[in-house]
Symmetry: C2
């Protein structure tokens, strides 16, 4: 049986390859938004992107490296959106709300952030990982600079706030990642429990507590180790 002719165009130049890689990433992201992390398969992605699975490995070393790239792009996207959303002065509560809202508006960012250390960072080459961490450092710095002005904090305090907000965001949005059976036939005690872990108020309340806590601490005592 002869192969059906399928006239596939090839990416030869660096630009063409970058463009194809990005096209795969775009297909991957829309597929990810549909099915989530655990159901995501490279075989399915290949079908969607109209290439064969082996081709994907010309552009990404592993499935996890593909996700790491998606994470990086979503981080940059969110970071830019969050910074743009911040006025020059606001309350810590409004700050927390904007952080939460912009982060959740990007359907990719939080689910990948949550899975970064557990799964994505395993099975990625160390150099790739270092590059990713450096991107992260840069984004934290950019957000911290804007935060320092917006919340009237020292630059050290602002960095502490930004890092801690990431930690809190991961913890608070965990409940959103459960199976989507919320208002069905759940008994009252269980649905009350779930409601008490609603991620937005959980995040905002504790973000305010932490920001005000940091604001109240003497600026020199930062970063004490145990």
């Amino acid at each position: 049986m002869k192969t059906v002719a399928n006239f596939r165009q090839r990416a030869r130049s660096a630009e063409q390859k970058a463009a194809r890689r990005q096209r795969v990433l775009d297909d991957a992201e829309s597929y990810f938004l549909e099915v989530g992390y655990e159901a995501f398969s490279l075989t399915q992605l290949a079908k969607r992107a109209d290439v064969v699975k082996g081709t994907l490995y010309l552009y990404f070393q592993t499935k996890e490296e593909l996700f790491l790239t998606l994470y990086e792009q979503s981080l940059e996207r969110w970071s830019e959106a969050f910074i743009a959303s911040l006025p020059n002065q606001l309350t810590s509560e409004r700050y927390a709300e904007l952080l939460y809202t912009t982060a959740m508006a990007d359907g990719t960012f939080v689910p990948l952030l949550i899975r970064l250390e557990h799964v994505i960072e395993h099975n990625v080459a160390i150099d790739r990982l270092i590059a990713s961490k450096r991107l992260f450092i840069g984004q934290v710095e950019a957000i911290a600079a804007k935060t320092s002005a917006a919340l009237t904090l020292s630059s050290e305090q602002a960095t502490e706030v930004v890092k801690t907000m990431g930690v809190l965001l991961i913890g608070a949005t965990r409940s959103d990642q459960g199976p989507a059976l919320d208002q069905e036939d759940l008994p009252l005690d269980v649905s009350a429990l779930i409601e008490s872990f609603a991620s937005k108020p959980l995040f905002v309340k504790n973000a305010v507590r932490i920001i005000e806590g940091i604001r109240g601490e003497p600026a020199n005592a930062q970063q004490s180790r145990t």
Copy 2:
């Protein structure tokens, strides 16, 4: 080729079946502690437990139900240990340290807690999930009761503290779940970043900020929704 005789004893009574189930769980836990969640396979567990894979499905509906059971047992174990560790009066910092230390001392609890909503709760029957949530409610109540006395908080404030500590624990211990390449050939900026996310000080500092924040809030304004 005839099957090699292997004289397998069978669990007939409910007691025998419960005992065998627990033996499988014990094997699963020691295997899990060795290889972690992602590398855990039922085929390997079966070999270790000296049964065939199909047998595991007589005792657990899915792999995730097995992990849910392990999680429940580790939750109860930790909850008991934490409560036992708490003196009648202590500072919020000491409280946070004890919570962190007892949680980390149990190698199973935190890694499974982190993966509960993302992976474990998917692929588990809804009734089983409800039972698990109720167990969780009970444990939160028990810890909150002791917390109320230990930190001199109202019962509502103590419940708020306990729930929030869980959220923070998940966020703060995330960095411990990354690949174990910390002090190798990492560049200084990256290893400094990783160090700045060391989970214990991250948890304790923010736990104190949150507990003191809750302590300072008017007791009636609890649980405002957005």
